[in-house]
Each structure stands twice: as C-alpha cells, then as structure tokens.
C-alpha cells in the first residue's frame, strides 16, 4: 500500500463536531463563569467598601477605648470586641456539643422514633427568625430567671441560633461517611459508641469543623436577639449576669446616630467584626485540625 493511498477517513456527518453544539457549550461556560465572577465581585465590593469606609476609624485607641459621648475625642469598641468574643465562645461551648450530639443521634442511632422528631425540631428552630429567639430569651431569662439584661442571656440566645446550624450541617457530613467504615469498626468488635466517636466523627472532622465555623460566624454577627438580651454596655464588662457589649450592637448604635464621626466609627466597627469572625474561624479550624490528630 502506497502512502498516497491512505486517505483521511471521512467522518459521517452525525459524528462530526457540530458548530452549533460547540457554540452551545461555550455559551454555557460563559454564563457559568459570569455567575461565578458576579458572586465573587459582590463579595469583593462589600468587603472593599467596608475597608475603605472603616479604615479611617482604625487606630490602637479604637480597639482599646470604650465608646465615649459625642464630641469627646477618641472612643472605640474595646468592650464590644471583648463582649463579642465572650458571647461567641460561651454560645459555642453551649451549642457545639449539643448540636454535634444531636446530629450523631439522628444519623447513627436512627432506628427509634425519636430521631425523625429531633431532626424536625432542628429544622423548625433553624427557620425561626432570630428576633423571635431574642423575644423568647428576653421573656424567659431577662424578665424571668435572671431578672435583668445579661451576657448569659445573650449567649443562650446565640446558642439557640447555633444549635440547628451545627446539627444540620454535621448531620450532612456524617451521612457522607461510608457505611463500610462503620461496618469495619463494628466487625472489629467495637461497641457502637466507640465506632461513632473514634471512626465516624474523625473521618468527618473537616466537615464538622466547617459546620462549627459556619455556626460561630453566623452567631457572632447576630444583632436582633442581642438587643433584647445582652443589651449592650458602654463599659468593659466580663460579668455574665450583667449587660455586655457586642460588635453588632455597637455598629447599630454608632450607625443609628446623626453624627458623621460615629458613622465612620460604625464602619470601623464593621471592619473589626469581619476581622474578628475571620480570626475566630481560623482559630477554630486550626484547633479542630490539631485536636483530631
């Protein structure tokens, strides 16, 4: 056979690369890319605007000083930063174990009739407007048991908001752990609770960390329930039974004022809140990763 005789085989028309199909493929790609870029851009714009407007307010005193009356030089968000940290940590300490435990119960011990009920309840609480949680805690703790606005009431309100977030997200990641790993553990002669704690949860630890971070970030930014529970405080306080300040409350108070200087401080507080949430997330992620080892 001579080389000249080797012709390029003709592709039947229905197998040929169709211009229309290719165009459609490209259109889809462009649309998807546009959506992705759009979402990222929105984030950058918001973050950028907060930085541009808030940066002028930032200096060392802004972090250390308490809010001062209008007209007095200086003043900052010291008590609010401390308050947000206390509220977030306390709410986390209450909500994370409960949320994780309920997720474990729902996914790993689902034979009973209780598990679907627990899941349904978690869904209902997740859908509850946060102001309603605030009103509830106000009625029961602030007006009732504690008797005054208090950090503890604020933390409990935030915990109520966090529990369903933790529970539902952790439930999802536990479901992703292959059944074969549970079987391997059981077949080794391990009791069920050990299989859950030493195999299932560690396998899902990255997802559990994400769930916790999501919940803490969400709670740290809540404003409405705190107005009715923690109230806010112009002075630094670490007493859990007294009103406490928090960044969202501080932002609200600064932003609601008629003064330009306070508006700048509101932007500055917003920037600090974003930073605090970022740091909390990072710290949580690191500690969970280390703890799992």
């Amino acid at each position: 056979m001579s080389t000249a005789a080797v012709a390029v085989p003709r592709v039947p028309a229905r197998h040929a690369v169709s211009a229309r199909r290719r165009a459609r493929e490209r259109t889809m790609q462009v649309l998807l890319a546009a959506a992705a870029v759009g979402a990222a851009t929105l984030l950058v714009i918001i973050l950028g605007y907060v930085i541009v407007r808030g940066a002028p307010a930032l200096n060392v005193a802004f972090f250390t000083e308490r809010p001062l009356p209008f007209g007095v030089e200086g003043g900052g968000v010291g008590p609010a930063v401390v308050g947000t940290l206390i509220l977030s940590v306390l709410a986390g300490v209450i909500a994370i174990p409960i949320g994780i435990a309920s997720a474990i119960f729902v996914t790993e011990f689902r034979s009973g009739r209780l598990a679907p009920a627990v899941r349904f309840a978690a869904e209902l609480i997740a859908g509850l407007p946060s102001i309603v949680v605030g009103v509830f805690v106000w009625a029961f703790l602030v007006r009732g048991i504690i008797g005054n606005y208090a950090a503890l009431a604020g933390a409990i309100a935030l915990a109520i908001i966090m529990i369903p977030i933790v529970a539902r997200t952790v439930e999802e990641v536990l479901r992703l752990v292959p059944q074969s790993l549970r079987e391997a553990g059981l077949a080794l002669g391990a009791p069920r609770w050990r299989v859950v704690l030493q195999i299932v949860v560690p396998t899902a630890r990255a997802g559990v960390a994400t769930a916790v971070v999501l919940a803490v970030a969400r709670a740290a930014g809540e404003t409405a329930p705190l107005l009715l529970t923690a109230l806010g405080n112009l002075f630094l306080s670490t007493d859990l039974l007294k009103p406490i300040s928090a960044l969202p409350i501080q932002i609200y108070q600064y932003a609601a004022s008629p003064y330009d200087d306070w508006h700048t401080k509101a932007w500055g507080s917003s920037l600090v809140l974003v930073g605090v949430i970022a740091l909390l997330s990072l710290a949580l992620r690191l500690s969970i990763r280390r703890g799992a080892r």
């Binding site: 034979s111 292959p178 074969s180 790993l181 079987e183 391997a184 553990g185 059981l186 077949a187 080794l188 002669g189 391990a190 009791p191 050990r194 299989v195 030493q198 195999i199 560690p202 396998t203 630890r205 799992a292």
Partner: protein, 281 residues
Amino acid sequence: MIRTVERERVPVETPSVGARADRPESAVRIEDLSAWYGTTQAVGDVSLDLPRGAVTAIIGPSGCGKSTLLRCLNRMHETTPGARVAGQVFLDSLDIYWTGVDAVEVRSMVGMVFQKPNPFPMMSIYDNVAAGPRLRGWKMDRRKMDELVERNLRRAALWDEVKDRMDRSGAALSGGQQQRLCIARALATDPAVLLMDEPASALDPIATYKIEELVRELSSEVTIVIVTHNMQQASRVSQRTAFLLAGDDGVGRLVEYGRTDDIFTNPRDVRTEGYITGRFG
C-alpha cells in the same frame, strides 16, 4: 425470634470468650439458620459444619444469600435495620445467638474482611492495624503495640511493603495492599475465625493471587470462611465448599456441601454441576 427446645443443648454456662474448654471438631456449626431483611427471607434453613483450621468456600450465583449467611456468623447481619435471624450458630461451643450473648463480644472473636477494601482513611497504616485493640479498649504500652502491628502486618504479607511508611494514610496504598491491610487489621485481635466476603473481587489478578496465597498460608492458624463467586478461586483456596442457590421464592438454600475436590469433580446435585460447569449463574 422464637427459638425452642434446642436451648438445652447449649453446653456453656457463661457466654464468654474463654468458654472453649471442650473444643469440638467443627470451628463453626450452623444449624437451621434462616435470615430475613424485613419480611424478605434471604437465607433458609442452612445447616453446615465448618472444620477447624481449614478454608471453607461459600459459592453461588448473585442473590443466593451467601454474603448474608456469612454476615450471620459474626452477627453483623442484625446491624442492618429490620434484619432478623432464626436458628443457631455455634462458635466452638458457644451459641452466638443465645439470649445472654452480646453481639459485640461475638464480633471480637471473629474477624471480617469485606468486598471493598475499607481501611480507615483518617488513620495511618500503623493505626489501622492497631484499631481493633484500641476500639476494644485494650490497654497496651507502645512497645507491645509495635510488636502486635508488625506481627500482623507480617501475617498479612504486607510488612516489607509498608515498614518504611507506617505513618502514611492507609488510603494511600494500592487496592490490593489496602485489602491486605484490612486483613492485618482483622487478624490483629487474634480471631479464631476469619470471614472474607469476596475479598478479591475488586482487585486485579496479581493482587487477587496474593490474597489467595495469603488465605492458604493463614488457614493453618485461623479457620477461614470465604464467600466468592469465582469458582476457580474456591477450588484453589478451599478444602470445603458449600453451594448455595436461591429458589423460585428467592430464599437462598444449601444445595450441596462437601470436600472441595468432590464438589468440583464429582458433584452429587445436578444444580451444582450446572453451576460449576457454567451453565447458569
């Protein structure tokens, strides 16, 4: 589950691992075992005597209940929601379905290797082998544990391949190595019986060969029950073969059980002959 008069025949007083005073000929004795998933019966009235220190193969076409039967031997079957068992299984002299017997205790006497290699992905190779003792809460110092891990990796013919990377993840190994890691993990708690559910069906021919080699070597120390739908594999590794077949009602029943040589060269049942000559299944 209703079990009747047979109970008096249970010779042990306490349902403990130590109750091996008199060692009967068979390592596992199955009597009139039936198993259900919900209302669907998967296994019907199987009785088998599996000899000690031998490899028994359970063969049969898909859906004949052979995996279910295997999972009844360490009470894994009942971990499936709605699953149920009737009949008796004796490990040595212990009726593992007797009322006072704890399923967790039974599983600690029997090792199990699954169809798909399932090493714990977040654990190192070392920790995978150490998982059994640790999950059972055994207290061991580091040196003892090192010895145990090495001994069982050697038993699983994996030591030379992994001894320099014991802290790597078990998931980073090849499929065949992962399966041998799972075998080492199952051996680490010194089970008297090792159950293998199609242990090589997800592996390539060379890895399969290594697993079969291993099964033959291990059979001197531990009683092995292997489920396979590969008949050549059954004939290569086992001394006894049980052939299961699902009837028209979908219930898997024992058709024939005997020495592997006899089953493959001189089957008594026409259905066995049909299956091993490849006429169905």
